[in-house]
């Protein structure tokens, strides 16, 4: 690892640790239970409410995925590897995409139960963004980088503009790998969703009604989707490396 890379990586780790500390200090002080989800006087079934909220995350997921892909193209095609902005940004993408989805799941539960930010939509959206952008961006970047440079050269050599090279060659050649990354990210998001629902289910259920059927009812389909998406992700991946 060269010197500047080491420097930017250290800065990123430091900043993430500071953000994490501030977050923990702020949130541990003021845990106020969400009235609509509190266990005593329930008007709406909390799991149902949570599911509605999670359902509304789908369009946000869609938008975030598209943005991440665009973001990855900007980094790869317009910022050279020595570009300072790129060097500053990349460590965050790498670090955040390496965090296990379980952590994000617990974070989501924590936020929804204690309603830390004014609305749990905001919390869920923020967690979703944190979960989706790094992994999708990183996998898209790898997919773009795996496109043979000789193809780019050939397209430039007959007068292709940057946009033409991207749309006619880079995008079609990397599409499957990008899609694979998106499927992988979706499976991660669904894992977080399952964790979230499962924990709330356990918290809010009267233990006499808690059965395997009940759990399967709530998260069975989601877990099945997790499997399907991760299998698709592996199968359509073209370039491994």
């Amino acid at each position: 690892m060269d010197k500047s890379k080491l420097l930017y990586n250290s800065i990123a780790v430091l900043i993430l640790l500071i953000v994490l500390s501030i977050y923990l200090i702020l949130t541990f002080k003021t845990p106020v239970a969400d009235s609509s989800l509190s266990f005593g006087s329930m008007k709406v079934e909390p799991i149902t409410l949570l599911k509605v909220r999670l359902f509304w995350m789908i369009p946000i997921l869609f938008i975030t995925v598209i943005l991440s892909i665009v973001f990855a193209f900007i980094i790869e095609e317009w910022l050279s590897p020595t570009n300072i902005i790129r060097q500053i940004i990349e460590p965050y993408i790498v670090i955040l995409s390496g965090i296990p989805s379980m952590i994000y799941g617990l974070l989501a539960v924590y936020h929804v139960v204690f309603n830390l930010i004014s609305s749990s939509y905001t919390s869920l959206t923020l967690i979703l963004i944190l979960l989706v952008i790094p992994t999708t961006t990183l996998s898209t970047q790898t997919a773009i980088r795996n496109v043979d440079t000789s193809i780019r050269n050939a397209a430039y050599a007959v007068g292709g503009t940057k946009w033409q090279v991207i749309f006619d060659h880079v995008l079609p050649l990397s599409a499957l790998d990008i899609l694979s990354g998106v499927c992988y990210t979706i499976s991660r998001v669904l894992t977080v969703t399952a964790v979230c629902i499962l924990v709330l289910n356990l918290l809010t259920s009267d233990f006499s009604t808690l059965t395997v059927i009940n759990i399967v009812n709530n998260v069975g389909i989601i877990l099945l989707l997790v499997l399907i998406f991760s299998i698709i992700a592996s199968l359509i991946k073209k370039n491994t490396g």
Partner: protein, 251 residues
């Protein structure tokens, strides 16, 4: 005739390492200019500076002046893509797009915004004829080019470059991947093209350069040791390094 390319004191760096040192030369129109020299002497770097493909390298930097038809090549008024089209290039390995034979050639026309089918058809046919590939592929235009031999694929690459309507055509060791039986055909194509375009041609095969070029330049360690009429370079070189190279004692 005025030179089509004039290079004055060209220095090239990749990052901190200086790859080309003070190159000055002219390229005359409608002639074959060959750059010869051992591998890693900077041949590819010279030609990629001429069509601005080096712009794609993040750590590329150059000083000195390059004029194309009397105008600054690296001026902001020129779009790099337009320069790369006018000074088109064929690479060492045949690089084909994942498209049919027809579409590979048609691509060079389409990206210029020409969409008229009859025009595209004409250009494709004409370019395939110029590279002597027409008879081999005329019934299979819409099939994948994978069944072609390496030599034929290289011919297709030349046809695609011609379809871009270049003024200069650059070849970077075009025969490196070809077997000996395919080389004569390539040389005859080169000879026939020189009426239409200016050709710059890089090779580490000395005898091939002697056979096909009008002007030859010898590059060694990033320096242009000598450039002149091919006959003179190969028979009465002025520099001993050139003499050692062309006689096979060096590189």
């Amino acid at each position: 005739m005025a030179p089509i390319i004039e290079v004055q004191n060209l220095n090239v760096w990749f990052g901190k390492s200086r790859i080309l040192k003070n190159l000055s030369f002219d390229i005359e129109p409608k002639q074959v200019t060959a750059f010869i020299g051992p591998s890693n002497c900077g041949k590819t770097t010279v030609i990629r500076s001429l069509n601005r493909l080096n712009d794609l390298q993040a750590d590329y930097r150059h000083t000195g002046e390059i004029l194309f038809n009397g105008k600054e090549l690296y001026s902001n008024k020129n779009r790099a893509s337009e320069i790369a089209r006018k000074i088109s290039m064929v690479f060492e390995k045949p690089i084909l797009f994942k498209k049919s034979i027809y579409e590979n050639v048609a691509y060079s026309v389409r990206i210029r915004g020409r969409r008229q089918m009859s025009l595209i058809n004409n250009i494709v046919d004409e370019c395939l004829m110029k590279v002597q590939l027409w008879n081999d592929v005329k019934d299979k235009l819409h099939t994948d080019p994978n069944f072609l031999s390496i030599g034929q694929q290289q011919q297709l690459c030349i046809a695609r470059a011609l379809a871009a309507d270049p003024e200069i055509l650059i070849f970077d060791e075009p025969c490196a991947q070809l077997d000996a039986t395919e080389t004569p055909k390539f040389e005859s194509i080169l000879q026939s093209l020189k009426q239409q375009v200016t050709i710059i041609f890089v090779t580490n095969k000395r005898r091939q350069a002697a056979r096909v070029s009008d002007v030859a330049g010898f590059l060694y360690n990033g320096e242009l040791v000598e450039i002149g009429k091919t006959e003179q370079i190969f028979t009465t070189p002025t520099d001993t390094r050139t003499e050692n190279y062309v006689t096979g004692r060096l590189g």
